[in-house]
């Protein structure tokens, strides 16, 4: 049952079975991952596993069929091809449907295959998880426990080939840590979180993870509900990334061509303040989202989405590009388990100049948002309505003050882009691969008491 063949060979083997009238694309992956969690100074759990996946997409006369499975077993591969063929019989023809056609753009040639994670031993992994927990517990007397201290790493291979002549492969590893300390004061408990991710273990910044996680938990002790009013909010980089990620989600081809974006008709218009420039740049190796190819095997490329506040382009895969009368921007996102959608690989903001304290200094009354929740339920990317749970600290007369919780911030995506008052100079690449700064936005409704 074990299939040890090289993925590109397996892919070519499947392609050989394509029929004359078929556009045929095969996507394969194989990988392994390990997660170690520590609790009370001991290993709590070690989870490891190998996984495989295949996805076959066949298009005939604009009708697309897709099937997928979690195995590279030869019998399974045969069955997946059969299912994909059967499924396309039921799809309706769409003249723009089809696999990607090579467009001559050269891939950036990034070397993303760092074998460092392959050298890790169980002892190495456990040591980091135990160390994370221990350091959180010893860093502040108010830290009474750690809900979870985890190490994860993985290695994966990927291959994609199609009858249009695309044949790409990649291989690489990554590792990450995450820790959730609990801070207690009287009967109150607060939970914090911080994490980091990198391509190699020595690039993880454990000092920073510990200090951020501990601060995240302890800073919220004694937090109270704020009063309801319109205020200027400063979003910390991870929160700014969540906000702008939602905006860019509404600038992807699928949403736009189907009329499900509030920005669908606004190409070339000023949708944000002139200080805002957003690019999706998977060619920058600094980002963990960097890649040589997109999910259809086209070259990854740098796309300027918002240029000094002007909506300069939408992101497309081959299908949405054709439908919109343009071409793919190399923005197909997918694994073998799904058909290609359109998405962000490595969103990045053009930083301003002032650090966070300088941003605060200009605000008489406002709030610093350390975290949000309910993004999946409180933001409607079709209407643009934005309302999320928020916690953080008050800003008074230019300085950070008391913590607050159990509040929401609300506006619309459209308004918030125009209400940006300053973009910070505190640029960083987040573990998600997004390059972000703090952002100050005026006139946001804070709801509490």
């Amino acid at each position: 049952m074990k299939n040890t063949a090289e993925l590109p060979d397996l892919a070519q083997g499947l392609l050989a079975g394509a029929r004359e009238n078929e556009q045929f694309e095969v996507c394969l992956s194989r990988g392994r991952s390990t997660t170690v969690k520590a609790y009370l100074g001991q290993i709590e759990s070690v989870r490891s596993g190998a996984s495989q996946a295949v996805g076959v997409r066949i298009v005939v006369d604009g009708r697309q069929g897709f099937a997928t499975a979690g195995s590279l077993d030869p019998e399974v591969l045969k069955q997946v091809v059969k299912e994909a063929r059967e499924n396309l019989q039921f799809a309706e023809s769409d003249p723009d449907q089809g696999i990607a056609i090579p467009d001559g753009v050269a891939p950036p040639g990034l070397d993303l295959t760092d074998p460092a994670v392959l050298q890790l031993t169980e002892e190495d992994r456990a040591a980091v998880a135990i160390e994370l927990e221990r350091r959180c517990l010893s860093s502040d007397s108010r830290i009474t426990g750690v809900r979870s201290a985890a190490w994860s790493d993985g290695w994966g291979e990927f291959a994609l080939a199609s009858t249009s002549g695309i044949a790409v492969q990649s291989e690489g590893g990554s590792c990450s840590v995450g820790v959730q300390p609990l801070a207690m004061q009287g009967t109150e408990t607060q939970i914090g979180y911080a994490g980091d991710a990198a391509r190699r273990p020595d690039a993880l910044d454990l000092d920073r993870v510990v200090s951020e996680a501990v601060e995240d938990a302890t800073r919220m002790l004694g937090a109270t509900k704020p009063s309801s009013e319109k205020v200027t909010v400063v979003l910390e980089p991870s929160v700014a990334a969540a906000f702008l990620g939602t905006v860019v989600g509404a600038l992807t081809g699928e949403r736009v061509i189907k009329g499900r974006s509030p920005f669908a008709e606004r190409l070339g218009e000023q949708i944000a303040v002139a200080q805002l420039t957003l690019v999706d740049d998977p060619t920058n190796i600094e980002s963990l989202g960097a890649d040589n190819h997109d999910g259809e095997g086209l070259a990854a490329r740098r796309n300027v989405i918002v240029d000094s506040g002007v909506l300069s382009q939408f992101l497309h895969n081959s299908y949405t590009g054709r439908r919109a009368g343009t071409s793919s921007t190399g923005s197909a996102v997918r694994g073998p388990r799904s058909t290609p959608s359109v998405g962000i690989h490595a969103l990045s903001i053009a930083p301003g100049v002032n650090n966070r304290d300088e941003l605060f200094a200009k605000i008489k009354k406002g709030v610093f948002i350390r975290g949000v929740n309910g993004l999946h339920s409180g933001v409607n990317p079709v209407s643009g309505d934005f309302s999320v749970g928020a916690y953080g600290q008050r800003i008074q007369n230019g300085a950070l003050g008391e913590p607050f919780r159990e509040a929401t911030i609300a506006s619309t995506l459209q308004r918030m882009l125009l209400d940006i008052v300053e973009i910070g100079g505190d640029f960083e690449f987040l573990p998600s691969g997004t390059g972000m700064t703090s952002i100050a936005i005026a006139d946001v409704a804070l709801s509490g008491i």
């Binding site: 490891s48 697309q64 979690g70 077993d73 039921f90 209407s383 409704a445 709801s447």
Partner: protein, 469 residues
């Protein structure tokens, strides 16, 4: 053997041998979980079938424990050699105890599929017809409906759980889901309306369920919101329509009653068994045996029979929810709440169908008793911080209540509250219990199907996260 009653997914001797291998390094307890999942879906969008997708996953997860340590390994290779390799990997992480001989497997490991009509036996053409019918019904509602997308999906999940205590149980779960999303276009921009139906049931669901009525509800929800005004900002009484807000209880207190979070001090409900934690009118139940509801299971993913667990009775906290490891370390019986997303995951404490029982008040009296407030007809997803109990959830259909009457529709926004506070602040509970929409509950990166429900009820005060003053 019929397609509905099937023998074990894997041979008994093969499993028994794998358990022995898993305990060969001194593991004190071992488990083999085998899963075969087949699913299919159809997307109908912009008036045509966009795609049909089928998917298959088959594999095993092997778990070994010694003391508080767990070793777990998963594999898609179900040969003797593949299972042995995974068993040894799991054993390596949980080793060093005295040798214990596993108990011989008892039971049949067989599984019964309770679906009357297995979806795999229904033609793909019939499933597409269903999506087409749903699309047409939504579009007929109003010309302002500019986009409709319909998604049909079916999944069959066969599982086999065996462990060194001799457990050898199987289950065969079939679920069907149909959802419709409508976009309405008006002068003020776009609005959306969504409806979902999902049950742990076969294709016979559509003999009774009126998909056209569901489509019309989704379309009307989008149309209604075109006229919506911004939601208020600040605290108000909130009336939640029956079946529209069970997610509040799932988030507000359900997660805090999961024994793993309680044990780690990450729950506001720790050490509070026997205390009055809610208004005395509140009885909260988690019930995995409930008919064909979305969160229903015959056994959990650790082989325990699913059961009905009363968590809060007349306001008093009666029990937490348990999985195998937490119940074992606490010296009590598990409660059938050990669940996992797939064979690649370690199970943990999860909810099934979580709901508030009926009160005695007529629902219309609850509205007429409310001078000023918000009426929530449908809540979207939510999220909770179990350490503080603070939760949020989105209102996908809501109205103002003015002088005891439901008036203007409101734009989407989040509600925020605190679980323990809300439980104390439930003032009125109706007599019109209904289950809500099917949901997927996410915890530590694992999603499992869950149901929720509640009668119409009023919370004295929640913070509405709108923009209007």
């Amino acid at each position: 053997m019929s397609e509905k009653m099937l023998g074990p997914l894997l041979d008994r001797d093969l499993i028994q041998e794998t358990i022995s291998t898993a305990m060969s390094k001194g593991g004190q307890w071992a488990e083999v979980f085998v899963e075969d999942r087949q699913s299919a879906s159809a997307e109908f969008d912009e008036g045509r079938v966009e795609s049909m997708v089928s998917s298959r996953d088959l594999g095993a997860g092997i778990r070994v424990t010694v003391g508080e340590a767990t070793g777990f390994a998963h594999t898609a290779d179900l040969s003797l050699e593949g299972l042995r390799e995974a068993a040894l990997a799991a054993a390596a992480a949980a080793r060093g105890g005295n040798h214990i001989e596993p108990v011989a497997l008892r039971g049949q490991g067989a599984s019964l599929n309770r679906a009357e009509i297995l979806p795999s036996t229904v033609s793909k053409a019939r499933k597409i017809e269903l999506t087409r019918q749903t699309d047409a019904a939504a579009r007929e509602v109003d010309s302002a409906i500019t986009q409709v997308s319909v998604r049909y999906s079916e999944g069959r999940r066969r599982i086999l759980v065996a462990n060194s205590d001799g457990v050898f149980n199987g289950d065969d779960q079939t679920r069907i889901l149909l959802s419709v999303n409508c976009v309405a276009s008006g002068d003020q921009g776009l609005q959306t309306g969504r409806e979902t139906v999902g049950y742990t049931v076969g294709f016979e669901l559509f003999d009774q369920y009126d998909v056209e009525a569901m489509a019309r509800r989704a379309a009307r929800r989008a149309i209604t919101k075109l006229e919506a005004r911004p939601a208020p900002s600040g605290q108000l009484p909130v009336v939640i329509q029956r079946g529209g807000g069970g997610v509040l209880f799932h988030e507000a207190c359900g997660h805090g009653l999961e024994a793993d979070l309680v044990d780690k001090g990450a729950s506001v409900f720790r050490d509070r068994i026997g205390e009055l934690v809610a208004s005395p009118t509140v009885t909260l139940v988690d019930d995995g045996t409930m008919g064909s509801e979305w969160g229903t299971i015959a056994i959990d993913d650790e082989g325990c029979l699913s059961q009905r667990n009363v968590l809060i009775e007349n306001g008093v906290l009666t029990d937490y929810m348990w999985d195998h490891s937490r119940s074992r370390s606490s010296g009590r019986e598990p409660s059938g709440n050990g669940r996992r997303q797939s064979y690649q995951h370690i199970p943990m404490v999860r909810m099934t169908n979580t709901f508030v029982m009926n009160g005695e008040i007529e629902p219309e009296d609850i509205v007429s008793d409310t001078e000023k407030g918000v009426y929530v007809a449908q809540l979207g997803g939510g999220q909770v911080n179990t350490a503080t109990g603070d939760f949020v959830f989105g209102m996908t259909e809501a109205y103002l209540i003015e002088d005891g009457r439901i008036t203007a529709p409101l734009r989407e926004s989040n509600l925020i509250g605190n679980g323990p506070d809300v439980l104390q602040n439930i003032e009125l509970i109706g007599n019109d219990f209904a289950m809500g929409s099917p949901g997927t509950c996410g915890k530590d990166g694992q999603g499992v199907p869950v149901g929720d429900g509640q009668p119409t009820l009023r919370v004295a005060s929640l913070t509405i996260g709108g923009t209007a003053s």
